[in-house]
């Protein structure tokens, strides 16, 4: 049985330990993030102009409209490529398109990245 003083110390420990634990977790996460940024050098690069290298950053939460805008692709290019009949295009996310058509997300993302790369390469050489 704990005396009142020990009981009080225990209560204080119960409050302070999770806070210290969480602080350590967030510190580790922060250090890891900073290391990642330092390793990849993303904050040092001038990435104002989207280049062919950034095609790898295309993700499923993006809309076709966003991809068309930032890569300067005509609206019909991806529509024709995927033969999209959905009236919401280009205001349609890749995730929604994949879900509605019961497709494989990774495959669609890979072909999409490739088609954007092809367009940019073709356009660059013209």
């Amino acid at each position: 049985m704990l005396n009142p003083s020990q009981n009080k110390t225990l209560r204080e420990l119960i409050i302070i330990l999770p806070i210290v634990g969480l602080s350590i977790i967030f510190l580790v996460l922060l250090v890891k993030d900073v290391q990642t940024v330092h390793r990849t050098g993303v904050l040092r690069r001038n990435i104002r102009t989207v280049t062919i290298l950034d095609v790898g950053n295309i993700q499923s939460w993006m809309t076709f409209h966003y991809i068309n805008t930032i890569f300067n692709i005509p609206e019909v290019y991806l529509k024709d490529f995927y033969q999209i009949a959905d009236s919401r295009y280009p205001n349609l996310t890749i995730k929604r398109y994949v879900k509605d058509n019961k497709l494989n997300e990774l495959e669609v993302l890979a072909t999409l990245k490739q088609s954007v790369r092809d367009y940019l390469t073709k356009n660059k050489s013209n």
Binding site: I19, T63, T93
Partner: protein
């Protein structure tokens, strides 16, 4: 979860930014900082207009703060009663917290807008329950929110494609800062009681 908000932002642009910043400032745990960083980056890529990002983000934040503050002033005590937290409001600890808050209300409101952003909603609730002068709350809050929107949207704009890395860093840094402040307050409280 964040991805759903990003899609929402891309689909509905300024309306989505307004709704996210409004509800995040009002009371809901929504990723307002990440949305502002992303909107800033989208503006740098030419997808959104930087002027409207700042304007809409600012309006969303200040309206959320204002509505949250007045709702707490008017119905805060009643709401706490209804959810069974009446005793909390009447406790000596809460009254001590209220006194401490009133003494430092300026810094608490100002810094919780853009520095330790996780404290924004709790500070709004405390301000409403303490019934501090609405002129003071709104003035300090609006200045703080302007800094917050300019800071986050500006950072997103300047780092462009790297905003997701920055968002993760800021999220962890703010959480760490909040915990450090909490530890400092607990230690201050502990040592003042021992004296």
């Amino acid at each position: 979860m964040l991805q759903a908000f990003l899609s929402f932002l891309l689909l509905y642009k300024y309306s989505a930014l307004f709704l996210i910043t409004f509800f995040a400032s009002f009371a809901f745990p929504l990723p307002s900082s990440a949305a502002l960083l992303a909107a800033g980056a989208f503006a740098a890529q030419g997808y959104l207009d930087p002027f409207y990002v700042v304007l809409v983000g600012f309006i969303g934040c200040i309206l959320g703060d204002t509505v949250g503050f007045f709702v707490t002033v008017k119905w805060g005590t009643w709401l706490f009663d209804r959810i069974g937290l009446k005793k909390v409001l009447q406790s000596k600890r809460f009254q001590a917290l209220e006194r401490y808050f009133l003494k430092h209300s300026f810094s608490a409101i100002f810094y919780s807008r853009f520095f330790i952003t996780n404290l924004g909603v709790p500070v709004n609730i405390l301000a409403g329950l303490s019934k501090i002068s609405y002129k003071k709350f709104l003035f300090v809050g609006y200045v703080g929110e302007l800094i917050y929107v300019l800071l986050y949207a500006g950072l997103g704009y300047s780092v462009d494609g790297a905003w997701q890395y920055l968002s993760s860093i800021l999220q962890n840094a703010v959480a760490l800062l909040l915990l450090i402040v909490l530890i400092a307050l607990l230690m201050k409280f502990y040592f003042s009681r021992r004296r």
